[in-house]
């Protein structure tokens, strides 16, 4: 395989994974105005839960994943109810939510250690397909990631654009106070948004766990990359997030190829810091004209 094709495949795979993570984070950020530092841990928990459903019930992998998504959405609802809502309206709520979600990360990681123990686990591949385009090869879970991630996020965009609940979410994003005066209950929308975001993270977790071993800390790296995506794309815009996810995927694929695995994250984070300095509102962000 040529160097170009290696970079292309990993761009699409990494970009897809980061997209699933960052889309949820963006959605949470734009409606709740908080960053969920526990998103990586939720990804990890979703991966382990998929593994448990797969091994205990013998269901097909896809069915196990769907089951895990549903279960994780319920966990996401509890998470929102216990760790986000109680603090969001308090003075200094940003910081309290950040601390609470960091605590949640610790809780979920230790919980996973307790439940699933230290043995290495991995999910089987999600498919046997193999596609070769212009010398670059994608197969199995890679291929599924490349296709599924943009598909799911596209579906999310469609739901936001076309459905009633989507309209409600967008209204709350754009003007929280007036939305309340229309009879929109913010907490119900928050709940919905967190459940969707956690569902997407679960899918990302299962895909990741099929490509590498699961560990309780497996969510930390995707979370950090998703933060970089948000800095790049401007938190709060789904279009920016999509572009940002693939741009960071490309940056990481390139730097890994040319500078090696240990330098790639450093360069990616440096890029993030520089972006934040030069254009704090996100590189791709354009201000909505408010006439």
């Amino acid at each position: 395989m040529s160097s170009l094709s290696v970079v292309l495949t990993s761009t699409l795979v990494l970009g897809g994974l980061y997209l699933l993570m960052a889309a949820g984070l963006t959605l949470i950020w734009s409606t709740l105005r908080v960053f969920n530092f526990g998103h990586g841990a939720l990804l990890m928990f979703g991966a382990y839960l998929t593994w448990t459903l797969l091994t205990t019930t013998g269901l097909p992998l896809v069915v196990a994943l769907i089951g895990a998504v549903v279960a994780m959405a319920a966990i996401g609802a509890i998470y929102e109810f216990l760790l986000v809502s109680p603090f969001i309206k308090r003075p200094n709520g940003d910081m309290l939510v950040m601390v609470a979600t960091l605590a949640a990360t610790m809780l979920l990681q230790s919980g996973a250690q307790l439940i699933w123990g230290p043995e290495l686990k991995q999910l089987p591949p999600f498919g046997q397909g193999r596609v070769e385009v212009a010398g670059s090869v994608a197969q199995g879970t890679q291929l599924v990631t490349i296709v599924l991630a943009p598909l799911l996020v596209g579906l999310l965009a469609l739901v936001l654009k076309r459905t009633g609940i989507g309209l409600t979410v967008r209204a709350l994003e754009q003007n929280r106070e007036h939305a309340q005066l229309l009879g929109i209950a913010p907490r119900r929308v928050y709940l919905f948004v967190v459940m969707v975001a956690v569902g997407l993270a679960t899918v990302a977790g299962a895909l990741l766990a099929s490509m590498q071993f699961m560990t309780p800390a497996m969510g930390a790296d995707p979370l950090l990359r998703a933060f970089v995506v948000l800095a790049f794309g401007g938190a709060g815009s789904l279009a920016g997030t999509i572009t940002g996810a693939y741009a960071i995927g490309l940056l990481e694929a390139l730097t890994t190829y040319y500078f090696g695995l240990s330098w790639s994250p450093v360069l990616v984070f440096l890029a993030m810091i520089i972006i934040m300095l030069v254009k704090p509102e996100g590189l791709l962000h354009t201000r909505v004209r408010s006439a």
């Binding site: 910081m95 960091l102 605590a103």
Partner: protein, 334 residues
């Protein structure tokens, strides 16, 4: 009179710190005491930015680790006197804080939290990437112990380390107290609570925040070198999640924004954490749950509860008035 009452606590504080190792003589309790002093120093330094200045600074663990690695590298690769390595560690952490401060220039609130959190994680990758210097994932072992003349600080159940830690804790507590009462401290509170007003009165946000950022980082760097010399080893764990949440729990349990709260938090959390040493993952679960419960039930932490209790106590003993005393009203106040 008021002045006497305010300052009488300090000799008492020194006395308690001095007498504690006489009460607790077994090696295990001594080690706990040493850890309490170290965590106390670190929590105090972090609370300067997080609590008083209201900066979402999550790079403090990075400064702590950078201090530890500086001390470890200097004392194992160069022949430098370990005692000299301690202040140098503080300086290197201050230099690192200049980098971590860059995002604070242009970002606000939670974005600063994001960037500084990433900074801490970046340290791990840098250490792993520079394996020749830092030992990579193996860490650095064989860091020489501190000695005073012929006596090792390890002697007599690490008594020397305890007194070093206690001296640091005393000095840093005093430093924080003086800082918060200084014009710098006042301007930080003004910036935190009403930035437009403060800046309109001529307070420079960037300057004041930079100063407190650097002071906090310097203290954390010194605490890091103390950690390196105490343990004799340093690894990337020092930048890890464990320290981060442990310290957050100390600050928030004790009461962010209070001078002495974090020290109280350090005492409680260190003891709880030690008691659960053999409980495996349960230890972290208990600490995480502790953080959440404190955030729910007592957002001002132990310091807030103490203040409340004191108010009630003073009221009960205060001059008798015709009206009945409503204890609850004081709780309702924001």
């Amino acid at each position: 009179m008021a002045n006497f009452r305010t300052w009488a606590g300090w000799p008492l504080y020194a006395l308690v710190l001095g007498l504690l190792p006489l009460v607790f003589t077994d090696p295990h309790s001594r080690l706990l005491l040493i850890l309490i002093t170290m965590y106390g120093v670190l929590a105090l330094s972090w609370n300067l930015t997080l609590g008083f200045a209201g900066i979402f600074n999550f790079a403090q663990i990075g400064f702590f680790g950078i201090g530890a690695y500086t001390a470890a590298i200097l004392s194992t690769r160069t022949g430098i006197d370990p005692w000299l390595a301690i202040p140098i560690s503080g300086v290197s952490a201050v230099l690192a804080s200049l980098v971590a401060f860059l995002p604070v220039l242009r970002l606000r609130g939670i974005y600063v939290g994001l960037a500084t959190y990433v900074f801490s994680q970046l340290c791990i990758y840098l250490v792993l990437g520079q394996a020749g210097l830092t030992g990579g994932s193996n860490g650095i072992v064989g860091i020489p112990r501190l000695t005073l003349g012929e006596t090792s600080l390890r002697a007599d159940g690490r008594l020397g380390y305890y007194f070093l830690g206690a001296a640091l804790l005393f000095a840093v507590t005093l430093l924080v107290r003086l800082l918060t009462r200084s014009t710098l401290g006042m301007s930080l509170l003004a910036l935190r609570d009403n930035e437009p007003l403060a800046t309109s009165r001529g307070v420079s946000r960037v300057r004041q925040h930079l100063i407190v950022f650097m002071i906090g980082a310097g203290v954390a760097g010194v605490a890091g070198s103390f950690n390196a010399f105490l343990n004799g080893v340093v690894s990337t764990d020092i930048f890890g999640f464990g320290y981060l949440t442990l310290l957050l729990s100390m600050i928030f349990l004790g009461g962010s924004g209070s001078v002495y709260g974090p020290v109280a938090g350090a005492v409680v959390v260190t003891i709880v954490s030690d008691a659960l040493q053999d409980a495996g993952p349960w230890r972290d679960i208990v600490i995480a749950a502790l953080i959440v419960v404190v955030l729910w039930a007592a957002p001002k932490g132990l310091a807030g509860l103490a203040r409340q209790a004191l108010t009630v106590f003073r009221r009960d003993r205060g001059p008798v008035t015709a009206e009945p005393v409503h204890v609850q009203t004081s709780k309702e106040m924001p």
